[in-house]
């Protein structure tokens, strides 16, 4: 992106002013993170340094993000030399303790979970000129990203759209709770160090989100930010690849309180294959998707549509404040509908206002299924909404008929919503940071959606009493690891037979796997028991526990009480924050603070790229694609479509400019767009142009290769075009194989169906390869454009 005028760097004073609350300095000075990755999990320690630069006591309140799957297992405060350790209590009791301590002039430190991925730290009665450090410790599983392990540290809470029901109600509204005040820039910065310990030599350690410096010593690595600090405006992502990918299998740990928990990792082997589906692409067209996000989504949908197998049905639904469906109901996948869909998708824009995701999902999920095909939803969104709970509940209710796959777009997608959709809908979630190509994760999702999976999975823990978590096992995909936990009961001092038996419905009937559990080889450690407790709390909070399965709807009030009691019990027993429990630490003072503490809410940095707004050395830039309609004024859109406090500092005094971005369409994307529904290509000017062929005369040799095949002329032209396109992508886009594997398989099937003689096919492929080689187009590294 190139600014129209040279940008001006802001002074540090300007930068600080943006984030100030009514002219007062903001109390948060820095955030430092130390993370250690060992095996399949990461332990992260976040230290927030506060300083009260005012002459009166303050109450500092900071709302910040954490990984939605993380277990928050410790909370401490340092006030100068004093150290107080947080205890887990019932959420309201913790608040009452905090409130009393504040009223009495003592120091009080509270950590509340607002959502699984949004937390609020409150520091009551910070005395004038005092410094306070808060330390939050989490443990989390790493997710798999192809052959890599993916570590994510969210740093930003993007503005979340709140439907009307979340904007009202008694007390602080959900909208206000989940939307802290924002500023374009904040003076506090992120410092970070990650230590990686692999089970085998490390092949690569890289970050798609930040420039980093990495020191690798065989199996260990230390990662730091390339610059000493970074803005807290986008998620930090780290991908770790080992020479031998980590495989956990079964692992039992006992913590220092004698609690034993097991973790089992399953990697099912399933035959590759794909079948027709009813696929509904649900794309977020709200204001927050403006800019690169909606452009990426357009490309992704085009690619996805062309990867569908014949016999499928499909539809495209765009949503914002309202929603638009391409067809009133899913239509058969053919040339005509694909052409119509392509035209529709080409002009899709983020012009539908708010993010009312519930209504389109409800309409789609309640619609009648077509032709007895399995129905899958592919949801593309930044997911920044406040009404996560009803959305997940809806998807869970329809899990029997519809699987949901999610793709998170942008620098700060709501992982809680997207992972939750995947958990509730028996699918999976992928995330794409701006700058990453969207195609690979999209096609991984399409492949999962089309491939056979193990569903109706049940797990039996034989020979040992066990409380499993998750209570309902997820769907299992071929080659993709899934982890199951159980809290084990009884004594394990002596060896005894125990095993885990997994039964499921596979593509060819019921399957059963069994894995021994070595109870005499229990290791000391608290990681697995803590992760069990986190999984258990997630079941309870997301409505997928045994309580939810048993109770009838009219017993919901009683069930809610039981669920709440169980959450408080598990969370306090394992010392974890949850929706119903908070951490509280009290610093009793010999000399209580005099005077009322003034509230200071810490502004958070606006997520980079949010709603098409970008920051470039202090200038706010509004980016839009040349092909799309220039967006309406986002400043007003911010207030009308997103909940924000009246004094939101999104635009401040800075200049805003419209910066067009040149469309970057790769030849691969253009080739994909030309593929027919049946998998073939047509030999026409558009194809020749993409391939760089001056004219058809170059293809005389190729047509001779088909001379003996008894096929109509029209098919000869298509066969040559298809072979050309295939050879082209195989030689020129080898690195992007993930992106075109499905398309290529479809093309190969077409060739095999129309050129039954394998020898003829080989001759044809050889002939077109020679044509391409002669053109020396191999030197065009176009796949990387």
């Amino acid at each position: 992106m190139t600014p129209i005028n040279p940008p001006l760097a802001p002074t540090s004073e300007e930068s600080a002013l943006d984030a100030r609350e009514g002219g007062s300095p903001i109390p948060l000075e820095s955030v430092s993170v130390e993370c250690s990755i060992d095996g399949f999990a990461a332990r992260t320690v976040i230290t927030q340094c506060y300083r009260n630069a005012e002459d009166r006591p303050i109450e500092a309140v900071y709302t910040f993000p954490l990984d939605e799957g993380a277990a928050v297992c410790a909370f401490e405060a340092w006030i100068g030399e004093r150290h107080v350790v947080g205890r887990v209590r019932d959420r309201e009791e913790a608040f009452e303790e905090y409130d009393d301590a504040v009223a009495e002039g003592h120091g009080a430190y509270l950590l509340d979970e607002e959502r699984a991925d949004v937390f609020t730290a409150s520091l009551g009665n910070v005395p004038p000129r005092a410094e306070v450090k808060l330390r939050v410790t989490t443990v989390a599983e790493l997710s798999h990203d192809g052959d890599a392990l993916r570590y994510v540290l969210p740093t930003t809470v993007p503005p979340r759209y709140a439907p009307v029901e979340d904007r009202g109600g008694v007390g602080r509204s959900t909208a206000e709770t989940l939307n802290p005040p924002v500023a374009l820039e904040v003076p506090y910065r992120l410092q970070l160090e990650v230590r990686v310990r692999g089970g085998s030599p490390l092949r690569s350690v890289e970050s798609p989100s930040h420039p980093i410096s990495v020191a690798i010593d065989v199996t260990e690595a230390t990662v730091r930010l390339a610059q000493c600090d970074a803005a807290l405006d986008r998620d930090f992502v780290l991908l770790v690849r080992e020479a031998e990918p980590h495989r956990l299998r079964a692992h039992v740990e006992r913590d220092d309180r004698g609690r034993c928990a097991a973790c089992v990792e399953l990697v099912p082997r399933l035959a590759a294959g794909e079948g027709p589906v009813e696929m509904i692409l649900v794309v977020d067209r709200s204001g927050s998707m403006q800019g690169s996000s909606i452009a990426e989504a357009r490309n992704a949908i085009q690619l996805c549509l062309r990867s569908l197998p014949q016999g499928s049905f499909f539809n495209v639904v765009g949503f914002g404040s309202s929603f638009e469906m391409l067809f009133p109901e899913s239509r058969p996948y053919n040339e005509e509908t694909l052409a119509e869909a392509s035209r529709h998708v080409a002009v899709l824009d983020a012009d539908l206002g708010g993010t009312e995701i519930l209504a389109p999902l409800e309409t789609v999920l309640k619609a009648e299924q077509h032709a007895e095909l399995p129905r899958v939803l592919l949801v593309l969104t930044d997911g920044d909404v406040t009404n996560t709970d009803p959305v997940l509940e809806l998807v869970r209710r329809h899990a029997g008929t519809t699987r949901v796959f999610a793709i998170g777009i942008g620098h700060g997608p709501s992982r809680h919503l997207l992972q939750g959709l995947a958990r509730a809908g028996g699918g999976s979630a992928e995330f794409v940071a701006p700058g990453d190509r969207l195609e690979a994760p999209v096609l991984r999702q399409v492949r999962r959606a089309l491939a056979p999976a193990l569903t109706d999975v049940t797990v039996e823990w034989r020979g040992v009493g066990a409380q499993p978590a998750p209570w309902r096992a997820p769907a299992l995909f071929g080659g993709e690891p899934a982890r199951l936990y159980a809290l084990l009961e009884g004594e394990f001092g002596v060896a005894r037979e125990a095993s885990v038996v997994v039964r499921a419905r596979g593509p060819e009937g019921p399957v059963e796997y069994s894995m021994p559990l070595e109870l005499d080889a229990v290791r000391p450690g608290s990681l697995v028991p803590t992760l069990w407790a986190r999984a258990r709390l997630r079941d309870l909070e997301e409505g997928s526990s045994e309580f939810h399965a048993r109770a009838r709807s009219q017993q919901s009030a009683r069930r809610a009480k039981r669920v709440r009691r169980e959450i408080v019990r598990v969370a306090t027993e394992f010392g974890l924050a949850s929706r119903e429990t908070s951490f509280i630490a009290i610093e009793e003072r010999d000399e209580p603070v005099e005077g009322e503490a003034v509230l200071r809410r810490v502004r958070v940095a606006l997520t980079r790229g949010w709603g098409g707004i970008d920051q470039l050395r202090g200038h706010v830039q509004l980016a839009y694609d040349l092909c799309s309609t220039p967006p309406s004024v986002p400043e007003s859109a911010l207030k009308s479509t997103f909940y924000m406090s009246d004094d939101v500092g999104v635009h401040g005094h800075r200049e805003r400019r419209i910066v067009p971005i040149a469309p970057t369409v790769r030849p691969l994307d253009r080739l994909v767009a030309l593929q027919r529904v049946d998998g073939a290509w047509d030999l026409d000017f558009a194809l020749l142009e993409v391939l760089g062929l001056p004219d058809e005369l170059e293809l005389v040799e190729a047509s001779r290769a088909l001379g003996e095949a008894a096929i109509p002329d029209a098919l000869i032209r298509q066969a040559i075009a298809t072979a050309l396109a295939l050879s082209f992508i195989e030689t020129q886009a080898a690195e992007a194989r993930d992106e075109w594997a499905l398309l290529a398989a479809k093309a190969e099937r077409w060739l095999a169906a129309h050129l039954a003689d394998a020898v003829v096919r080989i001759r044809l492929r050889d002939a077109v390869r020679a044509v391409l080689a002669a053109l020396s187009i191999n030197s065009l590294a176009w796949a990387k454009t």
């Binding site: 309201e92 608040f95 009452e96 409130d99 009393d100 009223a103 009495e104 002039g105 904007r167 009202g168 109600g169 008694v170 007390g171 602080r172 009219q554 017993q555 009030a557 009683r558 009480k561 209580p592 009322e596 509230l599 009246d646």
Partner: protein
Amino acid sequence: MSEPQGKDRYAVGELAKLGGISRRTVRYYVQEGLIPPPYGRGRGRHYNERHLAQLLRVKSLQEQGLALGEIRSLLTRSTIKATVNQSMTPGPMSAVASDPARGHYELLASAHFAPLALRSLHSGPDSPSRSPWTRVEFAPGIELHVSSDHRLPPPGRLQALAEWCRREFQPEESKP
């Protein structure tokens, strides 16, 4: 707000309970300037009936969907008569208000449990002959109406009565 003499004193927990809200919400209302801060400091801090009245008014206005800014502007007026016509949802109050025999009603900021307090103004808002009523909502759909001829029981008794009503009127399926 000057501290009244000899009036009821509520600890923050009592105030929250009487108002049917959490202590978090009490603190939020104070921080947002929707109700005045408590009297005193530390364990001695306390609230009184005026706090309670204002708290109930704010809560009711929030329930009716008013934004904080709108509530703040309403609170600056001495009466919020306009809101009765503009924003009260249909319910018991509307039913009473539409009864021609009872005259029309006005919500007064100074009422005991405003805005749940009703005043019957048989001969106009400024008439000296008005007969004030206090309406206390114990639970959705359960209210106590008391005319000024009777004194309200002290808060502890009122709370006990409210709890009894909530228990007795609890729907069958949600009973433990």
